[in-house]
Symmetry: C2
Subunit: 453 residues, 2 copies
Amino acid sequence: MERTKFILDEKDMPTSWYNVLPDLPTPLPPVLHPGTGKPIGPEDMAPLFPMDIIMQEFSPQRWIEIPEEVQDVYKIWRPTVLYRARRLEKALDTPAKIFYKYEGSSPAGSHKPNTAVAQAYYNKKAGTKRLATETGAGQWGSSLAFACMLFGLELKVYMVKVSYTQKPYRRMMMETWGAKCIPSPSNDTKAGRDILAKDPQSPGSLGIAISEAIEDAVTSKDTKYAIGSVVNHVLLHQTVIGLEAKKQMEMAGFYPDIIVGCVGGGSNFGGMFLPFIKDKIDKKRPDLRIICAEPASCPSITKGVCAYDFGDTAGMTPLMKMYTLGHTFMPPPVHAGGLRYHGMAPIVSHLYNLNLIEAKAVPQVATFEAGVRFARTEGFISAPETNHAIRVAIDEALKCKESGEAKTILIAHSGHGHFDMAAYEQYLSGQLSDYEYPEARVKEALASLPKVG
Amino acid sequence: MERTKFILDEKDMPTSWYNVLPDLPTPLPPVLHPGTGKPIGPEDMAPLFPMDIIMQEFSPQRWIEIPEEVQDVYKIWRPTVLYRARRLEKALDTPAKIFYKYEGSSPAGSHKPNTAVAQAYYNKKAGTKRLATETGAGQWGSSLAFACMLFGLELKVYMVKVSYTQKPYRRMMMETWGAKCIPSPSNDTKAGRDILAKDPQSPGSLGIAISEAIEDAVTSKDTKYAIGSVVNHVLLHQTVIGLEAKKQMEMAGFYPDIIVGCVGGGSNFGGMFLPFIKDKIDKKRPDLRIICAEPASCPSITKGVCAYDFGDTAGMTPLMKMYTLGHTFMPPPVHAGGLRYHGMAPIVSHLYNLNLIEAKAVPQVATFEAGVRFARTEGFISAPETNHAIRVAIDEALKCKESGEAKTILIAHSGHGHFDMAAYEQYLSGQLSDYEYPEARVKEALASLPKVG
């Protein structure tokens, strides 16, 4: 069998992150203060983030050096492997060449540590003693726990109560790494107490958990807030994925015709495609297709509107111009917890508006069908989120079979599914179903978008 | 930070397994037929295994070529990484240099696929259509499911009922890879029905599951049996671990003073140390210490006797000369399910008798203390089995701190602990306890050893 694995040497790892902001054909719309409706500046974000991170959020520099301390930690699991999916290609009987960049080998099992480590480092450097964050299914919380452990920071994670109860394994990972994790809504914050007063049985939501974490950060000593997706600096840190993949595709002797990834907040896929998109902006690769795969039941890009909206449900964050289903929208309980988010990264939203990227919504059952096919050929059991990307990649490969085109498809593989086996079991036993697109709830949520300008 | 990761190129992967049999100072005692008490020959094993595997079991050849098809599959995750545990060293403030060879990156999460893939390949080649096997906690069953999927073999796994119920995730992995997994004792075999007739609520045991799998293999069409540890050919296939590690230690510029690994049946650690032990046999490295870490509650080597015994509880296998606590011994329910075995690989037992290796029994709580320390420094959350090796390595590193010696310690890291988070939670919440060594039960089990010669 020909080569299936493309491995970068540590010395060829990226030493700078790629910042797309200066390369955008038109600038990103400003982030607005929800009270004044005016663009916010670095000082507005100072209660939440250390200044190094705030400067990255707005940086005009194309390349931002990765601190040596962060590179040292990356080296625990990076560079990650680029695989050629020859067994999947053969099973599909397609002339397409399918590659996947596998982020499941990090100690936390996903791409999330790429930014968690950077955020923990900059906070440590700035004298932060403690971080507060939210998490849904726990991918982000566990990754930040891993990072805080390495840099000696305390961490408190507000975990959506329903996940805290139903998916205890990632909580246990957080605790193993020394973080404190409590179910949200909690009695530890005013935001939590207010919710519990109204509804003592509240199952929680990501929006509520964000409110609690932000309140914790702004009211506690030496404490800052950390976020796992959506905002610019998170996508920036994730570009190690795409920078490595670009070199590895060169090693393999191919340039992708299609890049596909799943999008929740957009950080994993942004991290993959941003280092490639300049080739498209510069018309070097005008035909490069970049496809965002989102859940049909939470389709921010394909069914949402591009508008200023809050990042959280309670409306505590600044306003970002993004594709959104409305910040009060509660997504159906699909297994891909990481994709259950009402909005989309402003950078991803902006590039979609510029017709530089595409989006496709896929129903849940079809994603697991794809994930099982992948597991039964390539061997790796993928996260439910990742299965969205695999679904779209398989569909494109099957189109190649029809047309006879030998396209090169690159998948952003965001992580393993070891903590999601129950979802596979549901699928295999025929008990998994699709959720109808909740049109009425989206309409209602969109009606409550904040008025701006 | 200096280099922490040593990565072999694919082209430097071993192309042959190392067979220690011809290099043993005295030959291994023969395996005996339980009826006749005479040494068994290849033909006696033919109902269970394909001839290629049987020949490996007795082979006088030092090097046995790894088929290209097996190498191709190994390349999905091999060569595995050798890490220098610099963060752990620093936390321990020890002059010792600690390395670990990490087998957790395989799709099944442990070292088990190293032999599962080889066994599936040889069976496929011999025309076998279907395999039957047993599994305890599911590491072996899931690895063989992965391998059978790749070679297009059907697989039925008899999983110890108590694990089937309490640890469903690895069963779901098996099903995701297309295997059938049922709780043992089952109604599908006479052995199972006999047990259920006596005790309908039987929680099962590895011994019962082996009996069921063997019965299935010998009574079903085109079906063979596969085993995940103990016997010679399994240790042979696992030598890819040690062969890679030896080259990687050379890359790192060190030769180990101490090699440590956990032992259940002995295949993971045998696979690691066998390629090194010839240096000790040949007196090139007379001071090399090889330490087997076993559970204090199931201490085959340190408290058992070296005698002919059955490999299974029901007494269906040939008799092997090995360290054993008696084939009817039921080990306490420690979380390290892979170490709950009454016996020990004949090769490991023989080398222990030759004073070429040592053994140390460690209590459960201390192993988790070590595992958490490892997770909080190196990042990886390890399997409970692996934590036994980490415990012994830490103890040796702390001795170096006392003595000031900068010894080089190499750990055989057998896999990740993603499916064992509940055990970590028990430890962290103070609910984990040690089991007293069940002296009376061992005495009883040893009294029922088969009479030979």
